[in-house]
């Protein structure tokens, strides 16, 4: 497995505050990498730098061996799926229109889109009867499933998820966690998953990347983090969530 995304000395400042110190990271194909850390640690910044919602101040990000630049970003974005906490569905479009938005934009045929839409509904366990509904008519969990379908519609190579389950109640969250893990396994995409919940990180992460104050503190499996903490912060973070992290 080779690296799909490579961050090379990437940094970002907001005014005087460094949101991300110069950072190196590889995201491997076929693996789920989880970014975890307290609020404001730079994990969302890192994700947003990859999809270029913000410009890095220094460094370079390569996607499939090609540096991401303003020139190629639009075509690269179509190879990346992006799901955020509240789903980011457009309220004036139905679930169906939200999912098909990009496919229509790039000129897919009607049959192709219908086939893909059926596949997606089946994959995300979303009832086709709900497709004509508007986002306000759907529950939080249903909205996240639609958002996931939208992200997966064009068969992206990379899936970015920014706390996708953060706003859901525990039961819905648990069932969606199961479904998500199954989906990741079936598709074999590179996945970058941001969360602040250690249990979730352990559940999904092939590799866990712990961040604090704009830096990556430690990378590895959960046992690496637990048994060989890089510094005091790592043990503190692991211990703070231990009650639920005894997976």
């Amino acid at each position: 497995m080779s690296a799909l995304v490579k961050l090379i000395d990437v940094s970002k400042r907001y005014g005087h505050a460094a949101a991300l110190h110069p950072t190196n990271l590889s995201i491997e194909r076929g693996k789920t990498t989880v970014l975890i850390g307290p609020s404001g640690c730079g994990k969302s910044t890192l994700l947003r730098l990859i999809i270029r919602l913000i410009e890095p101040d220094s460094g370079r990000i390569d996607f499939a061996g090609e540096p991401i630049s303003p020139d190629n970003i639009d075509s690269l974005r179509r190879r990346i799926g992006y799901v955020i906490q509240e789903g980011g569905l457009f309220p004036h479009l139905t679930a169906r229109a939200n999912v098909l938005l990009m496919a229509r934009h790039v000129g897919k045929s009607q049959e192709e889109m219908q086939t893909r839409l059926r596949e997606m509904c089946e994959l995300t366990r979303f009832s086709g009867n709900l497709l004509p509904r508007y986002p306000v008519e759907l529950s939080g969990g249903q909205r996240q499933r639609v958002s996931l379908m939208r992200a997966l519609m064009l068969s992206p190579e990379l899936l970015l998820l920014d706390e996708p389950l953060g706003a859901l109640d525990p039961l819905v969250r648990a069932s969606l966690q199961n479904d998500l893990k199954e989906i990741f396994a079936r598709l074999g995409h590179a996945v970058l998953f941001v969360t602040h919940d250690l249990a979730e990180a352990i559940y999904f992460g092939d590799e866990i990347v712990l961040m604090n104050e704009g830096r990556i503190v430690q990378k590895g499996t959960v046992s690496d983090l637990r048994e060989r903490p890089a510094d005091a912060f790592v043990s503190e973070f692991i211990n703070a969530q231990r009650g639920i992290a005894t997976v």
């Binding site: 194909r29 076929g30 947003r48 999809i51 919602l53 639009d74 075509s75 690269l76 974005r77 179509r78 190879r79 990346i80 992006y82 955020i84 906490q85 509240e86 980011g88 569905l89 457009f90 309220p91 004036h92 479009l93 139905t94 098909l100 938005l101 990009m102 496919a103 229509r104 934009h105 790039v106 000129g107 897919k108 045929s109 009607q110 192709e112 889109m113 893909r116 508007y134 986002p135 306000v136 008519e137 939208r150 064009l154 068969s155 992206p156 190579e157 598709l187 074999g188 995409h189």
Partner: protein
């Protein structure tokens, strides 16, 4: 991994069916959005044709009071008797508007008074001879007839009963009664030979001075809201309302001999026809014509009295004369013109307002400048905005000016609502649109504008209602509409005529409101209305 990339490639090849459907929906959005306005443009076309096509008739203007209307009608009559095609634009406004219109060539002649010419137009304090006035006017390319025969000077008037009770006969006598309430026309308040110098000359102590429309002032006088007002010495109301003219014992008021001012480039036979009126109208006769005009509300008939024609003349063998029109026909004409003014200006506000709002929504100095400009325009009173546009080249006394003023007026609500509607879109949704890889154009048309549609439409609705209301002012510069009956009703103190304009204007505003409420249901995407 190859599997996925290959699949991705295959799926990019598409037939484009959906693209066209996509277009259909935006065309529909566009059509429904704009169609009503396009219809209005087309209905506007005839206005401009009327203004450019007819073989340039001589145009007589008149100020916004009875005597000026009557003199205008007399001039129209005498010109058309001489076989000259002629049009009378009634009640265009005050001195400056008529003077600018004359210099700008929108009118060829209008009745004026010598005192007004020296004080207001030439801005001279001293009493000039007719020859001196004529020489000064010539430098502007304007000529002046000999006096028509009567002196319509300014005067102060009171109720006869009140004047007798207080023993007031002269303006000097007012000094003894500082409590009297004085109501003056706005023009008199500001004139160089008006209230300020008059008060200084007579050392008048009255503090309670208000500005009031000339015709409304007579009602105010009758119901004792005011005790003293300014008037013209040939005003028919003086007799009708049992008022007395206070004697100008210090000879403050200059002479206001009626003349016609005309452009020297006006066709010579028209000037010759106007000159036939010189020395033919004395005060007594003018008062009678004024009284007749106010009694019958028919200026053409009053003017005919001058020519000793008893019966009403069949109207309009030259130029549009609307006196013989039936009420429904008049109402339809006013309403149609009103809709044209409001609709065409609204269309312009939308065409310019939405793009400006989009730019303004991005903030920065340019965005600030746009919102600032639109706000400043909004703070200018609509009347002042009209007056500011009139002296500009291309505008003048025309429908164009009215539409331009209404357009500027309608701009702010649209710009502001477009900008705020776009700015209110949550950042997460903007970023989702970007992260999906939609092009900036698609983001704007398919995501941002539909999401801001409620706010944009409510801005357009506000503009539409403002424009329907403000379009009544267009009548001040002769652009017509429902302001026409309101204005002449105000001038004649005739409530029925005022209501003939005011009620349809109010109904129209309601109708516009209702129409846009309906439009909301069509244009605001369903998902935003749940």
């Amino acid at each position: 991994m190859n599997r996925i990339r290959k699949a991705g490639k295959e799926e990019i090849v598409g037939s484009g069916n959906q693209e066209s459907r996509n277009w259909d929906s935006s065309i529909l959005f566009f059509l429904v959005f704009w169609l009503p306005d396009f219809l209005l443009i087309f209905s506007c076309v005839p206005i401009f044709l009327i203004h450019s096509a007819s073989a340039a008739p001589a145009v007589i203007g008149s100020k916004k009071f009875t005597e000026s209307y009557v003199l205008g009608e007399i001039a129209k009559h005498v010109l058309s008797d001489a076989g000259i095609p002629v049009e009378h634009r009634q009640g265009m406004g005050g001195t400056i508007i008529l003077w600018q219109a004359l210099r700008g060539g929108q009118i060829d002649a209008y009745p004026e008074y010598t005192g007004t010419i020296t004080q207001e137009i030439l801005k001279r304090g001293d009493a000039s001879s007719l020859e001196q006035i004529r020489e000064s006017l010539a430098t502007f390319g304007v000529g002046m007839t000999e006096p028509l025969g009567f002196n319509n000077t300014y005067a102060l008037v009171m109720r006869r009963s009140e004047a007798q009770r207080l023993g007031v006969r002269t303006i000097s006598d007012l000094r003894k009664h500082p409590g009297l309430k004085i109501g003056l026309t706005h023009e008199f308040l500001d004139r160089q030979d008006g209230w300020q110098p008059l008060r200084e000359r007579y050392a008048l102590p009255q503090q309670n001075v208000i500005g009031i429309d000339h015709a409304l002032g007579y009602s105010a006088l009758a119901n004792r809201s005011i005790d003293v007002k300014d008037a013209y010495s040939t005003d028919a109301k003086i007799e009708q309302n049992d008022l007395v003219v206070l004697q100008d014992d210090l000879q403050f008021f200059s002479k206001y001999e009626a003349v016609f001012l005309f452009r020297q480039s006006t066709r010579p036979d028209a000037i010759a026809a106007l000159r036939r009126l010189e020395g033919t109208l004395d005060e007594r006769r003018m008062i009678r014509l004024n009284a007749e005009a106010e009694r019958t509300k028919n200026y053409t008939n009053a003017a005919d009295l001058y020519f000793n024609v008893g019966a009403p003349r069949p109207s309009g063998h030259s130029g549009p004369s609307h006196f013989g029109e039936s009420f429904p026909h008049k109402l339809a004409r006013w309403t149609l013109r009103h809709l044209q003014l409001a609709g065409f200006s609204l269309l312009l506000s939308v065409i310019f307002g939405i793009p400006l709002g989009i730019v303004a929504s991005r903030g920065g100095p340019i965005g600030q400048a746009i919102l600032g400009f639109a706000s400043i325009v909004q703070t200018i009173p609509s009347l002042a905005l009209l007056a500011l546009l009139v002296p500009l080249p291309f505008f003048g006394i025309s429908v164009r000016t009215a539409i331009a003023a209404l357009f500027l007026y309608g701009l702010l609500p649209i710009v502001r609502n477009t900008a705020s509607g776009l700015q209110d879109i949550p950042r997460s949704l903007r970023e989702s649109a970007i992260a999906l890889g939609l092009s900036p154009r698609t983001r704007l048309w398919e995501i941002y504008l539909p999401m801001a549609s409620r706010s944009i439409l409510s801005g357009i609705k506000t503009s539409a209602v403002i424009n329907v209301g403000a379009a009544t002012l267009a009548a001040l510069i002769g652009a017509g509409g429902l302001g026409e009956p309101i204005l002449s009703g105000l001038n004649l103190n005739d409530h029925v005529t005022i209501l003939q304009g005011a009620i349809p204007a109010a109904l129209l505003a309601l109708l516009v409101q209702w129409f846009f409420d309906l439009l909301d249901r069509v244009l605001i995407p369903q998902g935003l209305r749940l």
